[in-house]
Amino acid sequence: MSEAPAAPPAASAERPHPDGIDLLLRPPEPRAGWRLLPARVVAMCAVELQKLRHDRTELYTRAVQPALWLLIFGQTFTRLKAIPTDGIPYIDYLAPGIIAQSAMFIAIFYGIQIIWERDAGVLNKLLVTPTPRSALITGKAFAAGVKSLIQAVVVIVIAALLGVALTWNPLKLLGVGAVVVLGSAFFACLSMTIAGIVLNRDRLMGFGQAITMPLFFGSNALYPLSVMPGWLQAVSKANPLSYQVDALRGLLLGTPAHLALDFAVLLVAAALGITAASSVLGRLAR
């Protein structure tokens, strides 16, 4: 505020504060408007990385399911040759879908996390800081993205070990990172929006279970649009996961993709998600 920086108090020398407390007498300068949002996003992502550093269990346990999908489902369906994949091995076709799926499963968890934070008082404390609600949600959305990114690296390594021919072009991998972050941001916001509506962990778990599988099976993660019945194609075309998978396939395998459309859809979806989740966040503070 308008306070002048206070001089370090002379008394602090004999007080029982080994490090002094002079800094605690001076409020920090507010950041300028446009720098606030990136600063909050960095803060939320830093917390996520710190948590992962202390406890990597989740990283390992979450690697199991995608590994099984690739190993069992992928290898079996590669032999069956039941799904038209334009000549590429099915396991290659599947790998980008599994990256998108595991990122989505991580992001969907954020709604439960925000309810947990509400119950624990953490959310209220954050809402009493100079952090606009949209900045808090954007921060969480990108934190989900960072976590998904680490998960994506794990799945890419597993896929490479199983002999999937992926690109190692750094520019394309950068694009893969952007797609994973945007997709996760959308699904994290979807789940936080539902959290803001149902307000209760048990109900949210039910919703989470109810939507994740339809989102996964109602997308092109496992099979191309062309083999779906008409109604499912319509569902799939409205499902951001399909655009995420399409972009990942195009970037990682070099299959024909609609990258511009995919990025546009994912950007708009993430922006809408952030808007929706921010607008219901107040309900969780009540």
């Binding site: 504060h17 407390i21 605690l24 007498l25 507010p30 950041r31 830093a46 209220n124 954050l126 009493v128």
Partner: protein, 282 residues
């Protein structure tokens, strides 16, 4: 001591604040003034409306009726400006158990825009001020209840707030941890000169540690003054001899709550809003 700014008024000024959860008027025309630099205790039983009032002051809840000002800033208007003045410790033990003490405080340094070059030093000072320097790099999940409360105090202090708001800071703590928490609040206040607004339903703690208290019942302040004034006042109303021991704050509260204040409906309303709190708290 921080320099006094252009707003020379009070730390908190509520006039006619009202907030209802459905049919329940949790806060019902609250008038409250917290002077700069004092430790003010908002007292009352569960369901008196203390937490709701705090949530309105901290901008967590809107202000549907009445006016709330924090150092002259309208809590329903420029919320960001109000939040920059506040340090808030909620009722629940709310440190993140999967982060270290230092990381917990560091998060709050980041969200209050502490520049990177002074972040580590500031976080170190906040941890030092509450006596957690040695435990700073342990996960908060390994802390005792009293240590978590002190960690939360450090989280609130790192941004040098002018007003520290604590909602039931000693709830659920053992007597020694309680004393510890209060002593740290007192030491920090003495060193920084910040204003402290604290809610509690432990009358003995308020008597010992607060400069002034407001007794809240059914959403309003029913008595206001220093603990000594309130006890002396009751003693005089009862016409006690000078040699009699002074009544406690609890006696004062019983006297106020019992004097025809909707005693018949009171319990039920208390239970309802306590349940509501319990549901919110989870």
């Amino acid at each position: 001591m921080t320099a006094t700014t252009r707003d020379t008024g009070d730390a908190v000024a509520c006039t006619g604040l009202a907030y209802a959860f459905g049919e329940t008027n949790a806060v019902d025309g609250l008038d409250l003034t917290v002077r700069e630099g004092e430790v003010f205790g908002l007292l009352g039983p569960n369901g008196a409306g203390k937490t709701t009032a705090i949530r309105c002051i901290t901008t967590l809840l809107p202000v549907p009726a009445g006016m709330v000002r924090v150092f002259g800033q309208d809590a329903a208007g420029d919320r960001m400006a109000v939040r920059r003045l506040l340090g808030y410790v909620p009722q629940q033990l709310s440190a993140d158990a999967s982060l270290t003490g230092r990381e917990n405080v560091s998060l709050f340094a980041r969200v209050f825009d502490v520049p990177r070059r002074e972040r580590a030093a500031r976080v170190g000072q906040a941890l030092g001020a509450v006596g957690l320097t040695d435990a700073a790099d342990r996960l908060a999940g390994t802390y005792s209840g009293g240590m978590v409360r002190r960690l939360e105090l450090a989280q609130a202090l790192v941004s040098a707030p002018r007003l520290l708001i604590l909602d039931e800071p000693t709830i659920g703590l053992d007597p020694i941890a309680r004393t510890g928490v209060w002593e740290h609040i007192g030491a920090v206040r003495a060193a920084t000169g910040m204003t402290v607004l604290v809610t509690t339903h432990y009358m003995d703690e308020a008597d010992q540690y607060c400069d002034r208290v407001g007794l809240m019942h059914h959403g309003r302040i029913r008595a206001l003054g220093t603990p000594a004034e309130l006890r002396q006042g009751l003693s005089e109303r009862r016409g006690a001899e000078a040699t009699d021991p002074l009544p406690t704050l609890e006696d004062v509260f019983r006297d106020i709550a019992g004097s025809g204040l909707e005693t018949s409906s009171g319990d039920f309303r208390d239970v309802r809003s306590t349940r509501r709190t319990a549901r919110r708290v989870g």
